[in-house]
C-alpha cells in the first residue's frame, strides 16, 4: 500500500494504491488521518481508492475510524473512485450510507464548495 497526499482547491486528496491488507501499513493510514487533524487539513478530505487492488474489513475499519477522527474535529471525508468490487464492500456493510462517494475527482472537490447564494 502507498499513501500519497495532494492539496487541490483547499481539499486534501489522500490517494491509496496497492493492497490494503492488515498490518503495519494499515496503522500508517490510521496515523495519516490523525495527522490531517493535527495539521488542520481535515475539514475537506477526499480519499481516492482508485488504485486500491485489494481491501477487506480491516481496511474498511481504518477508513471508518479515520472518518470518526475527522468528524470529531468537525472534518469531513468523501470517497473517490472506489472500484466496483470495493463499492460492493461499502454496500454489503451499509457504509454506503455513511460516505458520499464520487467517480470524478472534480465533482468530489466541487462538492465541498458552499452552495452559491441565489
Amino acid at each position: 500500500m502507498k499513501i500519497q497526499e495532494q492539496v487541490k482547491d483547499g481539499v486534501t486528496i489522500v490517494r491509496l494504491t496497492g493492497k490494503l491488507i492488515s498490518g503495519p501499513e494499515l496503522m500508517e493510514l490510521k496515523t495519516a488521518f490523525q495527522n490531517l487533524v493535527n495539521q488542520d487539513r481535515h475539514k475537506k478530505v477526499v480519499l481516492d481508492l482508485g488504485g486500491v487492488t485489494w481491501m477487506d474489513s480491516s481496511g474498511l475499519g481504518v477508513i471508518v475510524s479515520g472518518h470518526t477522527t475527522l468528524r470529531r474535529a468537525e472534518g469531513m471525508m468523501k470517497i473517490l473512485n472506489a472500484t466496483k468490487k470495493i463499492h460492493e464492500l461499502f454496500i454489503i456493510t451499509k457504509l454506503i450510507t455513511v460516505f458520499e462517494t464520487f467517480a470524478s475527482e472534480s465533482e468530489a472537490i466541487a462538492s465541498f464548495k458552499e452552495p452559491e447564494k441565489a
Partner: protein
Amino acid sequence: MTPVRIGVPSAEEFLEPVQIVVEKVGSIAGVEQDDLTSLSIAVLELVKNGMEHGNDMDPDKEITICLEVLPGSLRVQVGDQGSWTPAGDVGFKPGEGDQLYSDRGRGILIARNLARWVDFDLSPEGKTLATLIWPIP
C-alpha cells in the same frame, strides 16, 4: 487433484502469502478472474478471525487453510486452535445501533455476502473449523 494445504503462524505478515495462494488456487479451479479478489477477501476474513479470536495472534499457534476443488465448487476450510462455535447469530448487522460506525467487525458479514456459503463447526479434534464454499463452473 490433491487439496492445497497451508499452515502458517498466527501473524499478520502471513496474510499476504495466503492471499496470493488462495487466488492462484481459485484461478486454477476456474473461478473467474474478476472474482478472485472477492474469493481471497472472504477467505482472509476467516483466516484473520482464526488468528485473532481463535489463536490470540500467538505465532506459536498454527492456522491451517485447506483448499479443495470439488465438482461445481471450491471448498476452503480454515482451522485454528480454539474451540469456538457460534451461539446463534454471528457477525454484524449494520444499521442496527452503533455497529454502523464501529471500526471493526464486518468480517463474517463480508465473507457470507461474497461466498455462496460460510459456516463454523468443530473439527473431529474439537477445534474451530470454518468452511467456505465458492461456486465454480
